[in-house]
Amino acid sequence: MLELNAQTIVFFVFSLLTLGGALGVVTNRNLIHGAIYLIISLFGGAGLFVLLSAPFLAAVQVLVYIGAIAILIIFAVMLTRSMTQLREVFNGQWWASALVGVLLFTLLIGGVILPVWGNSGTNPNLPVSDLVATTQDLGVALVDGNQYVLPFEVASMLLTAAMIGAIVIAREDD
């Protein structure tokens, strides 16, 4: 059922990058190394977006996550002194996060993967949106009064609020 063509191989490579990078993030003691692994993981995610024919999201992944958030994380790490060489691997809340992780995993398997298991992507009964096919459609949908204009503007408000919050917190520090 699984044919071994170029696309499948590329999919496995990017999946491996994503999962391996994620594993590196949580097991590494050096925070900067963790950030580098995070970048590898995000890069794998960008590759998966390309495979899903969503190149704009792939570019956003590289531009925003690798180019901005990774940099921000490194800035944040350097802000907190002597955090670069952590000794202990586990902290007191490891079981709670493990619980959440297992719950989320079950949810994903049960809710998303099982319903489509065995369909090779051509099943017409699957709920696939045909509203947004290209980046241009995305642009139209974002500002269309009947579609996503409200979330679009709310996103802008949210980002402004996030920045105001960040400035307020950071200003108190110094």
Partner: protein, 417 residues
């Protein structure tokens, strides 16, 4: 916007290979590999010429001759330098993070080379005409920032880390006006594909319809590529070179090469996005001529960059940040707002060219002229505001000076005698 007719660098030779009996899939793969090798080799070979040009021009500005011993006109000087860098001992400082330390220069140069894969060299020669070309170029460029951060952090040196942090803070800041300036060509062309943007300029170059955006793009590119007056990334005469202080030998050479290449690539993008790319006379008959036109157009802003480097003093980091956040970003935002509004009005009134005569100069004239006039008007207002601000600050300075003199007189009245 007829992107269907443009084909890959590689696709031109697939038919030939198939006709000579090669398996179509293999032919496709082979042609991709060959295309990749061409696009990778081209910048690496050309960079030797750019460095020679830069040294020659800097020398002429400073009343020197420049490299003139190795090869004709000193053209082989950089080859000799490369050989010297290769046989030089390479020092990895104690306590450096070896893997990141060694990966940083490669990533730095990779972040520049990868841009060349999305640049249209002629109507039919392009590595990959991505539908999101503009965002791809910006995204790849932002990875270069990461390389600087990696180099600075892994060197285990205070200066390197400090230099990297300052550089990264400046580089990410100047990404904002650059992206804002790129919005306007995308808006006028209605596409993010690089080939589509060049084709949208057949009637009129975007430097005419969006001169302010072009200027903002050029300035932020100067900062992004670490060029004077924004060359704080490695202020070689003040800081001890910044993020690459611990690098030596060929790794240092790679950083230098990536820097020179980055500068040229930025001007190449400027030529593609604002100067009409490969478009020029006789390109339709002889596509390869497009490459010549593109290079000729690139050389104009590039040589200007080189002369700037040799003539303009460096700004301070606080000036650089203030110039970005308090001048370039607000102007870029207002520019996007006003251009979007005016263009929409022009389109609604019906003055913009129809898809049939989009490549016609006369049909483009009304829209282009209206946008140009709007830009001139904006520039006039900005210059006036700057003039008033400057006058206010000079007056304040003068008043402060007068006050100081008065105070001095009161404190030591005998000092005047």
């Amino acid at each position: 916007m007829e992107t269907q007719q443009c084909i890959n660098i590689i696709e031109t030779m697939v038919p030939c290979l198939v006709r000579s009996g090669t398996d179509p899939g293999l032919a496709q793969f082979l042609s991709i590999i060959i295309g990749v090798l061409i696009v990778t080799l081209m910048p690496l070979v050309l960079v030797i010429l750019f460095i020679w040009l830069e040294r020659k021009i800097a020398a002429r500005v400073q009343d020197r001759i420049g490299p003139n011993r190795v090869g004709p006109f000193g053209l082989l000087q950089n080859v000799a330098d490369a050989v010297k860098l290769i046989i030089k001992e390479d020092i990895t400082p104690a306590g450096a993070d070896r893997l990141i330390y060694n990966a940083a220069p490669v990533i730095a140069i990779l972040s520049v080379i990868l841009v060349w894969g999305a640049i249209p060299y002629s109507p039919i020669h392009i590595g990959a005409d991505l539908s999101i070309g503009v965002v791809y170029v910006v995204a790849i460029g932002s990875v270069g920032t990461l390389a600087i951060m990696m180099a600075g952090w892994s060197s285990n040196n205070k200066y390197a880390l400090l230099g990297a942090f300052r550089a990264v803070a400046a580089l990410i800041s100047y990404e904002i006006p650059m992206i804002l300036a790129l919005l306007i060509p995308v808006m006028i062309a209605g596409t993010m594909s690089m080939q589509g943007i060049v084709e949208a300029q057949q009637g009129m170059w975007f430097i005419v319809s969006a001169p302010i955006a072009a200027l903002i793009f050029y300035i932020s590119n100067l900062a992004e590529t670490g060029r004077a007056p924004f060359d704080l990334v490695e202020a070689e005469s003040e800081l001890v070179a910044g993020y690459n202080i611990e690098y030596s030998g060929m790794k240092f050479g790679l950083f230098m090469a990536s820097e020179f290449l980055h500068s040229f690539t930025a001007n190449l993008l400027f030529a593609v996005i604002f100067l009409g790319g490969w478009s020029g006379p006789f390109v339709a008959q002889l596509p390869l001529l497009g490459f010549v036109w593109l290079m000729a157009k690139t050389l104009v802003p590039y040589i200007f960059t080189l002369v700037l480097r040799a003539t303009i003093p460096r700004v301070r980091i606080d000036q650089m940040m203030a110039f970005n956040w308090k001048f370039l970003v607000p102007i870029a935002i207002v520019n996007v707002l006003i251009t979007a509004l005016v263009l929409k009005i022009v389109q609604t009134v019906g003055l913009s060219p129809s898809p049939e005569n989009a490549t016609d100069f006369v049909a483009n004239l009304p829209q282009g002229l209206i946008l140009f006039a709007t830009n001139l008007f904006m520039a006039f207002i900005v210059l006036n505001m700057l003039r008033n601000q400057g006058r206010r600050e000079r007056m304040a300075d003068q008043a402060r000076m007068l006050r100081t003199v008065e105070q001095d007189k009161q404190i030591v009245p005998s000092a005047a005698h």
